[in-house]
Assembly symmetry: C2
Homo-oligomer: 336 residues x 2
Amino acid sequence: MADVARLAKVSLSTVSRVINRRAVVNKATLARVESAIQELGYQPNAFARGLMLRRSEILGLVLPDLHGEFYSEIIRGANSQARELGYSLIISSTRDGNDSQSLLTGTRLRSLLDGVAIMVSEMTDRVQTLLADSPIPYVLLDDDIEGTPHDSVVIDQHQGAMAMMRHLVVHCDVRRVIFVGGLATNFDTSARLEAYRQVLREKGMTVGPDDIHFLNYEYDTAFDLGLQRARDWAGACVFAANDEMAAGIIAAALASGLAVPQDLAVVGFDDTRISRMVRPALTTVRVPMFDLGAKAVGLLCQRIAEPARQPTQICLHPELVVRESCGCKGRAPEPT
Amino acid sequence: MADVARLAKVSLSTVSRVINRRAVVNKATLARVESAIQELGYQPNAFARGLMLRRSEILGLVLPDLHGEFYSEIIRGANSQARELGYSLIISSTRDGNDSQSLLTGTRLRSLLDGVAIMVSEMTDRVQTLLADSPIPYVLLDDDIEGTPHDSVVIDQHQGAMAMMRHLVVHCDVRRVIFVGGLATNFDTSARLEAYRQVLREKGMTVGPDDIHFLNYEYDTAFDLGLQRARDWAGACVFAANDEMAAGIIAAALASGLAVPQDLAVVGFDDTRISRMVRPALTTVRVPMFDLGAKAVGLLCQRIAEPARQPTQICLHPELVVRESCGCKGRAPEPT
DNA sequence: TTGTAGGCGTTATCAT
DNA sequence: ATGATAACGCCTACAA
């Protein structure tokens, strides 16, 4: 920067003014300085800059995992919105032990970030404490904690699961529904399970002792479970808590000689790209993943700009997507 | 930091020494300082730190796109390795116009990053220039440029495509192969196309005028193409340049009344999770995506640690994965 | 409109 | 083993 100043025959402050376009600078000097910057290929030092400005224009995004289409879309949305607003995004998952550490507990990066968007699969006390005394703004994704005021973007899981369950029970005329969730402690799994129970109760249907399973959202484990249970499930419908598990169960059912959806209906959740690639195409619930990421970043940036503003909660609504795997196609008119 | 020093009744330098564990510090004072840090919840300022140390422990990862399983796995690998080595990762795609700008051309972040791993779908002059005078170390992923010395991690695309083509022509006894690639200018598409041509030439097979198609690696466009061409393709095998397109073509074939693989064989590339979820399961070429990301970050970190070292190229080898979609199952013994 | 000087929070260099 | 002090590169009053 000193070099630039010397070449343009101005002082450091003028160079700074040109870079930041803050104050009015004489047309001629401005041109001189800019050409000097060009010539020297000068790039301001982000550290020194951050030291004064106290911001890095970098955001953190903490996810439970980075695997799969679901998180991939959240990342895409978050990244897209971040760029839009002039920020960069650092990504981290809580999966690998030491990983989220650096973003949540870790001392190194925290002060570098202007804010952080966090999604945890289960809200432990430890995480709550961590968040409670976070030195930087944060926004929660699809999760909520009582007490502490904070911004969040949530998905109306209950509504989505209700829509699916009602579709199955009312429209597809399913007599038995098997619930295959993620971990029982997961926020979304429990919200969906509740909807499952509620609808069955409304319709006077019973929940069999083996009708509820908790897995890990992965294809393979769902496939294994499907292989074990397929015969027992014949005639029922499996409500899987994501599309990957639904795909695994369909594969297992087919491998067991069951026709899908004739012998066993299977539905998913999320509406990732997988749902259209699987045969039969999945009936599922579209979750606006891209939006989830984008809105979270948007909210975060608003708070950064205005730290004292009211905590806001944005609620995103899922939408039932009827394809083939629920078995109602051709059996009755399309649901509206 | 001044507060910590005051509370612990030591000087700033001692606090710094405790934090960095560089010099030997008296046991008693060390304890005092540490408890003071605890009590005040002190966190060092990363900007000031970076200003002195001239490193941020942040790496950049630039990808052509963030969509889909393929890039998702690269990110996962890169992120995992970065964490392992004490770095964080900023992600960016060249898809959204203004996006990569901030990492490649953009002035803001560049000086914050300790290095950057870059994957471009086509190596333009502009990118070359950008890289040539990059102020920070970079490593290229699955791409190469002449002239400029640099680190890179490449996939032996040619070998992988050769293995697949030989399998199709020799083992599956396919008489006609249709090539469905990404953009013609893509690095990997052209490498695979070359292998396609080479094997057909070796076997004295001809390439029909409509046997080569260039799409965009996406399911939908492949599906559309499949719908148009399915009848013309009957009896042949489609060699798609990624699993998503293969899935799209299978779906189109089925929709057109063709049985896969009996009436039309279809094979993919990458071995993303999709390849096992599709029916028939895809014969494909496994590309070590996770490793690609991880190795790139590893290489980058080595260069950061030792800027003057010899440029290194790591070559990763793909592997043929035979499943059902090529149609050779049951027709002959497994290939070795 | 432009220049001068002080400070941001840390680490490094030198004394002690 | 510890402390004082000078950088690091930039921004921002304030003065000219």
